[in-house]
């Protein structure tokens, strides 16, 4: 019996860590060296899945996740000679909010429902109107990131193990997914974008954030 539980746990854990799904998009050409990149981390969130299956956002861990994410991003970009600028999370930039919505809609057509008229071409842009961010925050590029990290609570993990024993899968033990997209602030062009579902990298730990960031930003330098 113990072996059965053991196998189930292994299956579950493997099921998690190997479920990496990535959808990358990129224009040809790379980013100019020494670029100033503005990080817009609109929606980085850490939640716990309770035994009832409810997703509960955790403010302390969310705060930790956000700060670890920024540090890890700064380190990652420094490897390529870029530097990072951030926006005060308490400031509501109404103009930026509209571009975030626009980007959401555009990325939706790129990742979710590709437009047949594009014939697979990658040439979407937010338009030069977005260049106001260049002056407002002194950056060459904007890096939009949304990332949700959720972990199962003890109760939910127990539920997953018990469900596994009875051959039932699909009990949510957490997910780590999000997207990142780089915008050229002169032209508004979407230079690069990546949608990931990782199953690894705990944002509460600096090391975990490094793992997440390196996987999320893989290929951002372009080809």
């Amino acid at each position: 019996m113990r072996r059965v539980v053991g196998i189930c746990v292994v299956l579950l854990v493997c099921g998690c860590t190997t479920s990496k799904q990535v959808t990358p998009v990129a224009r040809s050409g790379s980013i100019a060296a020494g670029a100033q990149i503005l990080l817009i981390q609109s929606d980085i969130k850490f939640s716990v899945i309770t035994a009832g299956g409810v997703l509960e956002p955790q403010p302390d861990w969310t705060e930790k996740a956000r700060s670890n994410f920024v540090s890890a991003t700064r380190r990652e970009l420094a490897k390529h000679g870029h530097s990072l600028t951030t926006i005060d999370a308490n400031v509501v930039d109404e103009d930026l909010a509209q571009y975030q919505k626009l980007l959401g809609a555009v990325l939706g057509t790129m990742f979710g429902y590709p437009m047949p008229s594009k014939h697979g071409a990658f040439d979407s842009t937010l338009g030069p109107g977005v260049s106001f961010l260049k002056d407002r925050y002194g950056a060459d590029y904007a890096l939009f990131v949304s990332y949700h990290d959720s972990r199962a609570s003890g109760g939910q993990q127990a539920k997953a193990i018990i469900a596994g024993m009875f051959g039932l899968y699909g009990v949510n033990t957490g997910s780590q997914s999000g997207f990142a997209s780089l915008i050229d602030l002169t032209t508004g062009d979407i230079v690069w974008g990546r949608l990931v579902s990782l199953g690894t990298g705990d944002l509460r730990e600096p090391g975990g954030a490094d793992t997440t960031v390196s996987m999320l930003f893989e290929g951002m330098e372009g080809g």
Binding site: S42, D43, E56, P57, Q58, V92, Q98, G104, S146
Partner: protein
């Protein structure tokens, strides 16, 4: 044993019900539960919800649907402070562009007033009723209790997920408010909020008889709905038993002798403010394509003293959009009335088009010229000039 308990519980409830009936003539006003400046002591999981609520508020602030018209915004904020008194500092008020009737209060003091409430209230007293009701929910900690109940019943992520969703559509702010409102208060809480809200508006110097008038107006509007699709309104859906509640409020209003108002309601300022914003408010209302309701509102607004020419113009606009048999004829008559009073310049142009269709080119020409005189920089000037040149 269980049966005994049930029987006893029933007895208590029945007694309470009888008591309520007996007391209906002079209802008792409930008291506020939380003091001004109250800071809730959060449980760990509750702070997560609070975080989500704060983020939702940021989205409200950034929303293009938030009214930035300073005069209107300031007016509503002042009214909230006048009614909320010591609680004023606990509220952040946002007027949201949404043609349906609603106002809401969140546990953190975020208050939303939809513009549809402004097209429906017939006086400052009635608006004070709506605001008093929402403030009462807050003061009696209903909003806090509701907020704490959310996590019991629903996946928080699905309520508040307003982030930059890539796959899937982010929920627009307007609809979010609807979602928040679906989490309705109990019937008892609504009744309590009615009564405390009524007391709050009375204490601020407003007419207590407005408290039930607004309910009666809303009931009449619902009755005028032309199609099934139009009803019920969101507000009446989340606030059931309007008629019964109006009755309780009426009993209360008649039971009190109104104290002399320190600061009587300033109806002229309110009327002028609505008149100044009347055009876009009514354009939003007409776009809802709820013709029966719109017709009723226009009747109410004519009584309320909105500029006559504007009321005729928007009735004509509504008729043209509905386009049922006889509507064009009726619209022509309304445009004629509008153009004889102060009305938007478009009244001349639209009247002109109808006259042209009715083979009266000479009369049409007159109206087109009046349009261009009234609005020299009209974007469709070339088109109208073309019509003028075409007609004999």
């Amino acid at each position: 044993m269980a049966d005994t308990v049930r029987a006893m519980t029933c007895a208590v409830i029945c007694c309470a019900a009888l008591h309520t009936l007996a007391a209906a003539a002079v209802p008792t006003i409930p008291k506020p539960v939380i003091p001004p400046g109250y800071q809730p002591q959060h449980e760990r999981d509750e702070r997560g919800l609070w975080l989500e609520l704060d983020e939702y508020e940021k989205a409200v602030i950034a929303s293009p649907l938030r009214i930035r018209e300073a005069a209107l915004d300031d007016y509503i904020k002042n009214l909230v402070c006048r009614i909320g008194k010591d609680y004023c500092g606990d509220f952040r008020v946002y007027v949201m562009r949404n043609p349906y009737f609603n106002a809401s209060m969140a546990a953190n003091g975020m208050m939303l007033v939809w513009t549809g409430a402004l097209t429906r209230v017939g006086s400052e007293d009635e608006l004070a009723t709506v605001i008093g009701h929402e403030i009462a929910h807050y003061e009696m900690a209903h909003t806090l209790a509701q907020f704490r109940n959310i996590k019991k019943g629903m996946a928080i992520g699905s309520i508040f997920d307003i982030g930059l969703a890539v796959i899937g559509v982010p929920i627009p702010v307007g609809q979010m408010t609807a979602v928040l409102n679906v989490l309705a208060f109990s019937r008892e809480e609504e009744e309590q909020a009615d009564l405390l809200g009524a007391q709050l508006m009375l204490d601020a110097g407003f007419d207590p008889h407005a408290t039930y008038r607004i309910w009666r107006d809303l009931i009449q509007e619902d009755q005028r709905a032309e199609t099934k699709r139009e009803e019920p309104g969101l507000f009446t859906k989340t606030h059931p038993d309007s008629a019964a509640r109006a009755q309780v409020l009426e009993a209360w209003a008649h039971s009190i002798s109104r104290p002399a108002a320190a600061e009587p309601a300033d109806h002229e300022t309110f009327r002028a403010l609505i008149a100044a914003n009347y055009s876009w408010l009514m354009e939003d209302q007409i776009k809802t394509a709820r013709y029966g309701r719109t017709e009723y509102l226009l009747e109410q607004q004519a009584q309320f003293g909105m500029p006559e020419g504007f009321v005729h113009f928007y009735r004509a606009q509504m008729l043209m959009q509905r386009a049922e048999a006889g509507d064009a004829q009726a619209a022509r008559a309304e445009y004629a009335l509008a153009t004889n009073a102060a009305a938007p310049p478009e009244a001349f142009r639209n009247y002109g088009y109808l006259l042209l269709k009715d083979n009266d080119p000479a009369a049409a020409r007159v109206q087109f010229q009046r349009y261009l005189t009234a609005k020299p920089d009209a974007t469709d000037r070339a088109m109208v000039e073309f019509y003028i040149s075409e007609v004999p």
